[in-house]
């Protein structure tokens, strides 16, 4: 199994790149040896540049690629980098970054596997370990399954440490001293005589040297942010003053607004529609049939209100969806699907004597049912799309930016490289 050994040796694969006026650091990690034939095809070129830390003369940017849906993950990702980089995260620019394969999420596939979370058998663990590699192979960048911190815990600290040591090396070369004699504090490299050099002053020097990748992560007892009670969210003030911008808040000059009237039975057809009233309403520019995704009718207008009003005025005849209309009927279907010999008597573990225990203790029987529940976030689904002859830009809050990119390519026929998803 040569490839397994190869992966084990390169536990951390690191890249850095010169960017305009600065340097970007990244960490790219396969964190455990995985006996899996999929790995035979892994190419060396996978350590593509993965910027998590950008240093320019203008400032320090921390890239936090997992979406924040209120769980505080933008703050947590920034703290993970800052813990090693020695910088106050409020002194940085935080960006989710453009989606890319380097931001793949290993943990979400492991936890999202079709295995019960309690199944700790060797087979289940092997499958999970294989699944951790799959996102890397297929560039699955997604947020979900409580995977952000487990997936980013080492990657981002490592990126911070690589950036710190490389900045120290740049300072060492400039000052003619050894890197080990330098320390870092609050976005500065500190020379033995106390001279402070700002990271931003070292951007150009750092861009020209090989990144220092042989780094040791700090012991938890030395942590300044991580694990500390009362760690504030970095975006709290912006969320209390109306300054925080959500996807729905973005606006561009001469932007038009669309509201979609979609089949309430998902996947059901649009048999026919009458938009004659809507077409004459204030602000309405155009009425279009929606054919991609869930069928419906879109009204394009000069502001959201006009679009919503006109969409309500479109008369649609909907076809039925391919599922029952009530929860009771859905439960009947689910029950029929489960009530099958093949689903009985599955055993993940054999511990103790179950039959004996059941014969002497009190037996408690219960059935638990959970109806279908929509996520229903407060921010209604929305996206801004700007299409020009040579590129498409999409701004939207999403957990799966690369899927959006691929879907946009499919619909538009444009190359995926020319599609930019801003989250």
């Amino acid at each position: 199994m040569p490839s397994v050994g190869k992966i084990a040796r390169r536990t951390f694969l690191i890249g850095s790149a010169a960017i305009a006026g600065g340097v970007a650091f990244g960490a790219y990690m396969v964190n455990r040896p995985i006996p899996n034939p999929l790995l035979d095809d892994l190419a060396d070129g996978e350590a593509a540049i993965t910027p998590f830390v950008k240093v320019t003369s203008e400032g320090i940017t921390l890239i936090t690629p997992r979406a924040d849906k209120g769980q505080g993950s933008y703050s947590m990702q920034a703290y993970l980098i800052a813990e090693e980089l020695d910088i106050d995260p409020t002194d940085t620019i935080r960006m989710p970054g453009l989606p890319g394969p380097a931001y793949y999420n290993a943990e979400v596939m492991a936890e999202g596997s079709p295995l019960p979370a309690y199944d700790e058998s060797a087979t289940a663990e092997t499958i999970r370990s294989v699944l951790r590699v799959v996102p890397k192979l297929f560039s699955i960048q997604m947020t979900g399954g409580s995977s952000t911190v487990p997936d980013m815990f080492e990657k981002l600290r490592h990126a911070g440490a690589v950036a710190r040591e490389t900045l120290k090396e740049a300072a060492a070369q400039r000052l003619g001293v050894a890197r080990v004699d330098l320390s870092t504090e609050d976005g500065h490299v500190i020379a033995p005589d106390g001279t402070r050099i700002a990271y931003t002053d070292l951007a150009a020097d750092a861009a020209g040297i090989e990144p220092i990748t042989d780094v040791t992560l700090r012991d938890p007892s030395d942590w300044r942010y991580l694990g500390k009670a009362g760690l504030p969210r970095i975006d709290m003030e912006a969320k209390c003053t109306g300054a925080e911008k959500y996807g729905i808040d973005l606006a561009f000059d001469s932007m038009l607004f669309a509201s979609i009237c979609a089949n309430p039975g998902i996947g059901g057809a649009l048999e026919s529609f009458d938009a004659s009233e809507a077409e004459g309403m204030p602000g309405v520019r155009r009425v279009l049939e929606v054919t991609a995704g869930n069928p419906g009718v879109a009204v394009i207008a000069t502001n959201t209100w006009y679009a919503i009003q006109a969409a309500r005025a479109v008369e649609c005849n909907w076809g039925a969806p391919n599922y029952p209309a009530s929860s009771a009927e859905m439960f009947d279907l689910l029950e029929a699907a489960v009530d099958n010999e093949e689903n009985f008597d599955h055993r993940q573990r054999e511990e103790g004597d179950v039959d004996a225990a059941l014969s002497e203790g009190e037996v408690f029987e219960a059935q638990y049912r959970i109806p279908y529940l929509a996520h229903a976030p407060m921010e209604p689904m929305n996206a801004i799309v700007k299409v020009t002859d040579d590129r498409i830009d999409i701004w939207t809050g999403t957990q799966i930016p690369l899927f959006i990119k691929q879907r946009a390519a499919l619909i538009s026929g444009m190359d995926a490289e020319k599609i930019f998803v801003h989250v």
Binding site: P232, M236, K239, C240, A243, I248, T304, P377, M378, E379
Partner: protein
């Protein structure tokens, strides 16, 4: 049509039935007030008209009748945040934050009317402002803290 928002006068060319929320958001690019439901069921769009909390998604611009509008962007003093905003930060209330502009505007207006609220008063006054993240216990704690700040001020 003319309106005053956060002390600034604006002229907009829209139909009089257009709700204040959309005038603020789409015409004036004041995006602190949020669109959640559009039917006064969530409170995310709450602003003040002449100091009183209203659901801006239900107030037609033609019915504003010269009322002065304050949004979350205009709640703070020029050199300091409003006591409710300060309390919100101290108690780290916001999670996703989408409902919080409305929560804060509702709380500020409520404390004007009831400077020493009980838990029950707070629950009654705030129950129509929904938070999908479930920050209600911190909202309650922050309102008590803000009430104290306002009394001491």
């Amino acid at each position: 049509m003319q309106l005053t928002v956060n002390g600034n006068e604006h002229e907009v060319d829209v139909t009089p039935d257009m709700p204040l929320l959309w005038v603020l958001r789409d015409e004036l690019n004041i995006t602190g007030p949020k669109y959640g439901c559009g039917i006064a069921q969530c409170g995310a769009c709450t602003v003040h008209v002449d100091g009183v909390a209203v659901r801006s998604c239900q107030l037609a611009i033609g019915d504003l009748a010269g009322g002065e509008v304050t949004t979350i962007e205009g709640l703070a003093e020029p050199d300091s945040l409003h006591a409710v905003q300060e309390a919100w930060i101290e108690h780290q209330v916001a999670q996703c934050g989408y409902c919080q502009s409305g929560q804060i505007m509702q709380a500020a207006s409520f404390l004007d009317l009831n400077p020493e609220p009980t838990d029950e008063d707070i629950d009654a006054a705030m129950s129509a402002n929904l938070c999908r993240c479930g920050t209600y216990p911190r909202i309650r704690a922050a309102i008590h803290a803000a009430a104290k700040k306002l009394q001491e001020a």
